[in-house]
């Protein structure tokens, strides 16, 4: 009886209800495909996570003081999603580079992992100094708004050595307000001795007007060398090489005694331009010198290589326009490298040796440790030895990305659900 009553109620319904069967099929098929795709993606993510868990995930590897943290240099320095500050004990580093316009220096390791160098004094074009072995970092640190002081950082132990008497030498209202005894000139190269005992910077006692090489000791000692012109490298742990504008290479010991003097055979038409123009090779047997033609306009520039014992010219190449002339050169075996906007290149061949990759913007200067350049080029980006799970050293960024994706998906779903709901109610 009940069935009949209900049947009577709906008997005339079918002609008035006309579903679109073709649309139902298309919509259903599209939903199935979409769900399959989402399911496959979720399964893939789950598979990767489970796989990593099963295979074992190595914690992000940092340079290990015991084995040198991997050797060599990164062929690429990728920009991380978030550039964090250099930790206290990151281990041996491979190099530093400067970001144009940001007054920032970035420190990177052999794997190309990079960190922002915090606290470097923003004024005066300060340049950090990385030791030959990549262990020591020296730079003028900003302490307060109007005071800076030099600091050494041992990147392996995290130990810091401050030089409160060494500032940037800036005066305020023609009076040296900081009360510091020495200043570091800025915009000059700084070179570590091979044993990391000394850092040669360009500076002076405050009361002297003409800066010259100043030695900062790892024990906090400050010593004026008393021999003018620019330090270009160390021939040995106690043999600093200084080049004059006339092309004379002097060797001095930390006390300032001149031990040797060699005149480089710089062609007559060329002169040594300034503090960034020369760099001693790692073993001290050669020196690369950029020469500028002695003419007023359109001066030609060439890179010369001399024997440091005899001063004889060994080789020379063109100095291309895009090569930075305010950045320290480097040696890799017998090749001279210089920073070109966008990477460290072989001056002779133009081949890029180290390339900042990603959205760094213009990088105006970069320097690598001698030890890093002596090793092999590391495949990149961002790993010492490529293993696919190394990407997880960016776990914070990955988790952040997943969170953003999740929140975004939920918001989209809510918006669509709300639209559908409201649409269905009206």
């Amino acid at each position: 009886m009940t069935h009949d009553l209900l049947e009577d109620l709906v008997r005339d319904v079918p002609p008035r209800v006309t579903p679109d069967i073709d649309l139902a099929w298309r919509t259903g098929t599209a939903r199935r495909r979409r769900r399959s795709a989402v399911g496959a993606a979720a399964a893939a993510v789950l598979g990767v996570v489970v796989g990593l868990g099963v295979l074992g995930f190595d914690a992000p590897r940092r340079a290990d003081p015991a084995d040198g943290g991997g050797s060599g240099y990164p062929s690429e320095v990728p920009r991380p999603i978030a550039l964090t500050e250099l930790p206290d004990k990151p281990g041996l580093m491979a190099g530093v580079m400067e970001l144009e316009g940001a007054s920032e220096w970035v420190v990177f390791d052999s794997a190309g992992r990079s960190w922002r160098l915090p606290g470097i004094s923003p004024g005066g074009g300060e340049t950090p100094a990385l030791s030959d072995d990549g262990r020591m970092l020296g730079y003028l640190a900003q302490k307060t708004d109007d005071r800076s002081e030099y600091v050494f950082v041992d990147l392996v132990t995290g130990a810091r050595t401050g030089f409160p008497e060494v500032g940037d030498g800036r005066s305020y209202d023609d009076e040296m307000l900081t009360g510091q005894a020495y200043f570091e000139s800025g915009q000059t190269p700084q070179l570590w001795s091979p044993d990391n005992r000394w850092l040669a910077v360009n500076g002076s006692a405050v009361e002297e007007s003409k800066p010259g090489p100043l030695l900062l000791g790892v024990d906090g000692e400050v010593r004026e060398v008393g021999v003018g012109n620019w330090p270009v490298g160390w021939l040995a742990a106690d043999r600093l090489a200084i080049l004059s504008g006339a092309g004379t290479l002097k060797t001095v010991d930390p006390s300032g005694e001149v031990l040797d003097r060699v005149d480089l055979a710089i062609p007559r038409d060329f002169k040594v331009w300034g503090q960034w123009s020369a760099r001693l090779s790692g073993d001290g047997s050669k020196i690369a010198v950029r020469g500028d033609e002695r003419v007023d306009r359109d001066a030609e520039r060439r890179l010369y290589v001399f024997d440091t014992r005899t001063g004889a010219l060994l080789d020379d190449w063109d100095w291309r326009d895009r090569l930075s002339d305010t950045c320290l050169m480097a040696w890799q075996s017998d090749q001279v490298l210089a920073w070109e906007y966008g990477g460290l290149v072989d001056v002779a061949t133009g081949e890029v040796v180290v390339e900042p990759a990603g959205q760094w913007g213009e990088t105006t200067c970069g320097m690598l440790s001698t030890r890093a350049l002596a090793g092999p080029a590391q495949p990149g980006p961002g790993v010492v030895e490529w293993r696919y799970w190394d990407v997880l050293w960016l776990w914070r960024q990955l988790l952040g990305g997943l969170a953003v994706l999740l929140v975004g998906s939920v918001l989209v779903w809510l918006a669509r659900h709300r639209r559908r709901t409201v649409g269905g109610a009206t």
């Binding site: 069935h3 209900l6 319904v13 209800v17 579903p19 679109d20």
Partner: protein, 168 residues
């Protein structure tokens, strides 16, 4: 696609009738049938392999109708249309009773309508109804009892035929 089309054409009328019982409105019934067909199409291969597209469609439709009530708690109340199917020219039917029955059905909850539809229109047993709706048999029993009581209370003179204990 062809098999689905054939099946859908064959089942459209039955689905439309059930949908109307569940919604009380031809437009809502059409939406419900459309969504039911879409869900069946979405799983057509599996449903066809199992050889039970009718049962799957029934389960989808009734659960969609119940879920629509659940969703309604967080959305504006739907305005059920007053539109009822026009009576055909068969003189033996009582148009008043149909309107009263339809209004009484609209006073039920979607779950009560779903139980009523399955038990007394689709002629499923209590066990089968419970399986379709994913609830216990006792829930089906009590829901059916309440639904019938409300129907009788709504219009005793027309709907006294809704007797407790009826059905397979």
């Amino acid at each position: 696609m062809e098999e689905f089309e054939q099946w859908a054409h064959a089942r459209s009328a039955a689905l439309a009738r059930s949908a109307y019982l569940l919604t009380g409105d031809v437009h809502l019934a059409e939406d419900l049938v459309q969504e039911t067909l879409t869900r069946v199409a979405q799983r057509w291969r599996r449903v066809r392999r199992q050889g039970a597209p009718d049962a799957y469609a029934r389960r989808v439709m009734h659960n969609l109708a119940v879920d629509a009530w659940r969703r309604r708690r967080s959305r504006p109340r739907e305005v059920l249309g007053a539109e009822a199917p026009e009576p055909s020219a068969h003189g033996e039917r009582d148009p008043d009773r149909r309107l009263v029955l339809r209004d009484a059905l609209l006073r039920l909850t979607p779950r009560q309508r779903a139980v009523l539809s399955l038990r007394f229109y689709e002629d499923l047993t209590e066990v089968e109804t419970a399986a379709v709706l994913g609830c216990s048999v006792s829930t089906v029993k009590s829901t059916a009892r309440e639904a019938l009581a409300r129907l009788r209370a709504a219009a005793p003179e027309h709907l006294a035929a809704f007797a407790p204990g009826e059905g397979p």
